[in-house]
Amino acid sequence: MSEFLEFRDVSKRFGTIQAVDGVSLGIKKGEFFSLLGPSGCGKTTMLRLAAGFEYPDAGRVILDGQDITDLPPNKRKVNTIFQSYALFPHLTVWENIAFGLRVAKRSKSEIETEVEAMLQLIRMSDQAHKKPDQLSGGQKQRVAIARALINKPQVLLLDEPLAALDLKLRQRMLIELDMIHDQVGITFLYVTHDQGEAMSLSDRIAVMDSGRIEQVGSPAEIYEAPRTSFVAAFIGDTNFLEGEVTGLVENEYCQVKIADIPGVICFNDKSMKPGNPVYLSIRPEKIHISRDRPEESSRRNIVSAIVEDMIYLGSTTKYWVRTHGLRVQVLRQHFRFFLDEKPIRWNDEVWIWWHGDDGFMLDRYRAVDEHLVALPPRKVGEPEDNNEKR
C-alpha cells in the first residue's frame, strides 16, 4: 500500500529550537499511527504541520497524493482533536458538532440528520443542549471527536486527547477510540507521550526524540527490537550493561565481556566485531530468577546474584539484584503461588539467567538521554524513573 499522509524532509524551527529536524514519514490509509516521545520531541509540531497551523521551514506535506503544504487549515481534509478539546464555550453540544457543516453552508435538514447520527455514535443524544462547561471530561472528549468526525476528514489528528482524563476514564476512552477507529475506518494520527496508549491503540508507532524519528514499527517491534538505546529506555524498562565484544559464536552470536563476567552470549544483529564496545539491553521480564541453579543450556546466560531490593506488585514482583558490581532489574510474573515455596527475600543468593536472543546490543546512549536510562534506581523509595518520562 502506498503512503496516504506523507512528510517529506520536513523541518521546523522555533527560535533557537529545532522542533522537527528533517523528518520523512509515511502513514498508510486507514492506519492508526502514533507519534510517541517525551515532551519537546517535536511530535505535536508534526501534528500541527499536518493540520496546517504551522508552515514548515523546509520539506513538503502530502495527503492522498496532493501537496497540501501551502493549504490553510480550513482547506485541508484533516481534523484535529485538541488536548484541551477546544469546544466552543458559547455553543451547545449540538451547535458545536454542527459547526463544521454550518460553515460549509450545508442544508438545514442535512445538518440535522448528520448531527443526530453523530450524537448517537458518541451516545450523547440526551445531552445535545448542554453547554460544554456542563459536561464531564469524558463527554467533552466525545463531543470533540464527533465535531471532528462529522466533517468526514481523510485523517483525524489527535493531540494527546486522553492526557486530561483520569486513569479509569482514560482506559474507557482508549477502548472507545479504538471502536470509533474501527467503525469509521479513517486514518488516525495520534500524538502521545504515554507509551501505554500508543502500544495498545496503534498499528504502527514512530518514536521521536529531539525532532528526529528514532524508530518506526509495530508496537511489538518497537518493544522487542529497539533500534537505539533511547527507544529501549523510553519504551518500558530495561537494563543497560556496558561491555565489549570478545569473540564470535557461529557468526550469529557474539561473546560479550560485561564487568568481570566473561562470555555473555548475545544475538549479533549488528555484525559486531571483537573489540567493539557495546551496550547490552535486557528487559527485566526476560530475565529469570530463582534460588536454584538452572540447567546449563546453549546460549543461556547464567549469573549468580544477591537480592538488594524487591517490590511486590500483585501480579508481578520487581527485584533489584547485584551481580559482579552491576545492579540489574528483574521482573517476575507470578503464575501460581505455592504457600510451601520458600520465597525470595532480601540478601538472598539467587541465580538469574536469560537467553542470548533476549539481549540487544545498542549504541551508547547520548548524554541528553541520561535521565531516561538512569536505571536502576540506587535504592527503593527513590522516585521511579518511569514517572519522569513525560
Partner: protein, 288 residues
C-alpha cells in the same frame, strides 16, 4: 436558615458605608434633580412654589427633539466606531508578545497624563481652518477649501471617539486576554475562514468585554458637554449643552432638571436592559 439570615445581616452591615456614601452624594442629589424638575421657575432664577409638569411638556418642542436625536446618533456612532477600532486592537494586544504588549498599553494610557480639556483644545488646533490637516485635505481635493473640520457633529464624533477609545480598548483587551486562542485554531480546523473564525468564535468569546466597552462610550457620550461645547458649535450641540444653557444662560433650574431627568432615564434604560439580558443568559449556568 439561621446562619443564612445572620450572613445576610453581616452583608448589609458591610455594605452600609458605601450605601451611605452613595445616598449622600448620588441618590439624594439625583432625587433633588427629580424634585426640582417638577417645580415652576421664578423670573429671578430661583425655584417657585407648587408643583407642575410644565417643564416636561416644554421638552416636546422641535428644537429639543433635534438636539435629542443628534445626541443619540452621535453617541451610537461614536460607540460603533470605538468598537470597530478597539476590537482588532484588543485582539492584537492579547496576541502580541508580553514586551510589546506593555509598550502598547503604555501608549494607550500615556494621553491620560495630559488634562482632558487640554487634549480637546489640542484637537481644536489640529482641526483649525488654518491648520495642517485641513490644508492637506483641501490640497489633495478630499474636501472643498470652504468646508470646515471644526464646529460640526463630525468633529464631536471624532473627538468623542478619541477620548473614549482607551476605555473601550481596555475591557476588550481584558476579555481577549482570557480568550482561549486555540478555539480559533479549532474553528479554522473545522473549515472556517479567518474572518468566520473571528466573527463566529472570537466575538462571542469576548461578548462581555464588548458590552462593557459599548456602555463605557455610549453612556458618557449621551451626557457629554465639554466636547460638543469646544469643538461642536451650534450644529454639534448635544443635550448636555442645552442643560448648561438652561442653567448658566437662562438661569432656569427646573427646565435644566427636567432635561437631566430625561437624560438619566435614557441612560438607565439601556443599562437595565443589558443587565436583565445578561442575568437571563447566566441563569441556567447559575442553577448548576
Amino acid at each position: 436558615m439561621k446562619r443564612e439570615s445572620r450572613r445576610s445581616i453581616r452583608e448589609v452591615l458591610v455594605s452600609l458605608p458605601s450605601l451611605f456614601w452613595l445616598s449622600l452624594f448620588f441618590i439624594i442629589p439625583t432625587l433633588f434633580v427629580f424634585a426640582i424638575a417638577l417645580k415652576p421657575a421664578n423670573p429671578y432664577g430661583g425655584i417657585g412654589s407648587g408643583w407642575t409638569w410644565d417643564n416636561f411638556r416644554s421638552l416636546a418642542s422641535p428644537n429639543y427633539l433635534i438636539v435629542a436625536w443628534r445626541t443619540l446618533w452621535i453617541s451610537v456612532l461614536s460607540a460603533a466606531v470605538c468598537i470597530i477600532l478597539a476590537t482588532p486592537i484588543g485582539y492584537y494586544l492579547a496576541r502580541v508578545s508580553a514586551r510589546w504588549r506593555g509598550f502598547f498599553l503604555m501608549l494607550i494610557i500615556v494621553p491620560f497624563w495630559t488634562n482632558f480639556l487640554i487634549r480637546i483644545f489640542a484637537w481644536k488646533v489640529l482641526l483649525h481652518p488654518e491648520g495642517a490637516i485641513k490644508k492637506a485635505l483641501a490640497l489633495s481635493g478630499l474636501i472643498s477649501p470652504q468646508a470646515s473640520l471644526l464646529y460640526n457633529a463630525g468633529a464631536v464624533v471624532l473627538v468623542t471617539v478619541y477620548t473614549f477609545l482607551p476605555f473601550t480598548i481596555l475591557p476588550i483587551y481584558a476579555a481577549a486576554e482570557k480568550f482561549d486562542f486555540q478555539l480559533l485554531e479549532a474553528a479554522r480546523d473545522l473549515g472556517a475562514r479567518r474572518l468566520q473564525a473571528f466573527t463566529k468564535v472570537f466575538l462571542p468569546g469576548i461578548r462581555r468585554g464588548l458590552i462593557t466597552a459599548v456602555l463605557f462610550v455610549f453612556i458618557p457620550a449621551l451626557g457629554s458637554y465639554v466636547i460638543p461645547d469646544i469643538v461642536g458649535g451650534p450644529s454639534g450641540e448635544m443635550i448636555g449643552n442645552k442643560i448648561a444653557q438652561r442653567v448658566f444662560v437662562d438661569r432656569n433650574l427646573p427646565q435644566a432638571s427636567a432635561l437631566s431627568v430625561v437624560l438619566i432615564l435614557s441612560v438607565l434604560a439601556p443599562l437595565l436592559t443589558v443587565l436583565v439580558l445578561q442575568r437571563k443568559k447566566e441563569k441556567p449556568e447559575a442553577l448548576l
